[in-house]
């Protein structure tokens, strides 16, 4: 049974920077190398997986982020129904990908926590704990990067100007959240 309890119990607003968890969001990791795999995902979900490094693609229901040349994370743009435990998207992919050995589909809804950050000081916050240079990233809508923040592995997605989605492993989420609140209070 999936764990739909939010990992973070509150949302905070510090110096114009809003930090909150979005839950429950469906998250899937798809892996595959063949060209047929990319087209099969495209046909099943009506979304083209980004093949260019550090980019993302979006449809009305889903967003796909590039993680690695053979790995993508697909997440729902809207929150899911809390009472249901299965997703049409995952079923479609399992039938069209897993069952014919084109690639792998893994449900990571539970594994990753999606934190949404809003405000014009996001990158000042990231700067205080990440080795990544966000200069180009912040002006490029849809940019994606995997890096470290406060020594924790994160996936960052530039959703819009001054709006960022951040994915972090669930067991690290509370620590990262308190780290971000602490760092934000001193910006």
């Amino acid at each position: 049974m999936l764990n739909y309890t939010p990992a973070l119990l509150k949302e905070t607003l510090i110096q114009d920077l809003q930090i909150k968890e979005i839950s429950p969001i469906m998250k899937l990791i798809v892996r595959g190398k063949k060209r047929e795999f990319i087209s099969a995902v495209g046909k099943s979900l009506n979304i083209l997986l980004p093949t260019e490094a550090n980019t993302s693609t979006q449809s009305d229901k889903l967003t796909a982020l590039w993680l690695s040349p053979d790995e993508w994370i697909i997440f729902s743009n809207d929150t899911m129904n809390k009472d249901l435990n299965d997703y049409e998207t995952e079923k479609l992919l399992q039938n069209n990908i897993s069952k014919i050995n084109l690639g792998a589909v893994t449900d990571v809804t539970d594994q990753f926590v999606m934190i949404n950050l809003k405000g014009n000081k996001i990158y000042d916050l990231f700067q205080s704990g990440s080795p990544y240079n966000f200069n180009n990233f912040q002006n490029k809508k849809g940019a994606v990067t995997q890096t470290i923040l406060g020594k924790i592995d994160i996936i960052v997605h530039n959703q819009d100007k001054n709006t960022v989605n951040l994915f972090v492993r669930r067991s690290f989420s509370q620590h990262l959240f308190s780290w971000m609140n602490d760092a934000a209070s001193r910006l």
Partner: protein, 91 residues
């Protein structure tokens, strides 16, 4: 600290990577036919030179891919970066 140009993600800071030791060490085809000394030679002995060295690196906190780096160990200057399976450049 230095920057490494990951062949998949672009330029990133060293702390995102893990070093994987010397590159292009070929595993013996018939390990059972080797003497203990020869096996130890393959398993443990590394050149560890001061100067240009061919190394494996892993972008552990990024795309998690392995690749090769040609690095000068005396000043950390990176001469070349190339993917696994590609021919090492002549330097």
């Amino acid at each position: 600290m230095f920057l490494i140009n990951c062949p998949f993600c672009g330029e990133r800071e060293q702390s995102e990577f893990k070093a994987g030791g010397e590159a292009h060490i070929i595993r013996p085809k018939q390990p059972t036919e080797l003497s203990d000394d020869e096996w130890a030679e393959y398993l443990f002995m590394r050149k560890n030179i001061k100067g240009v060295q061919f190394e494996r690196w892993n972008h552990a906190h990024g795309c998690r891919k392995w690749f090769n780096v040609v690095r000068d160990t005396s000043n950390d200057e990176i001469k070349a970066v190339y993917k696994m399976g590609e021919k090492p450049p002549t330097i």
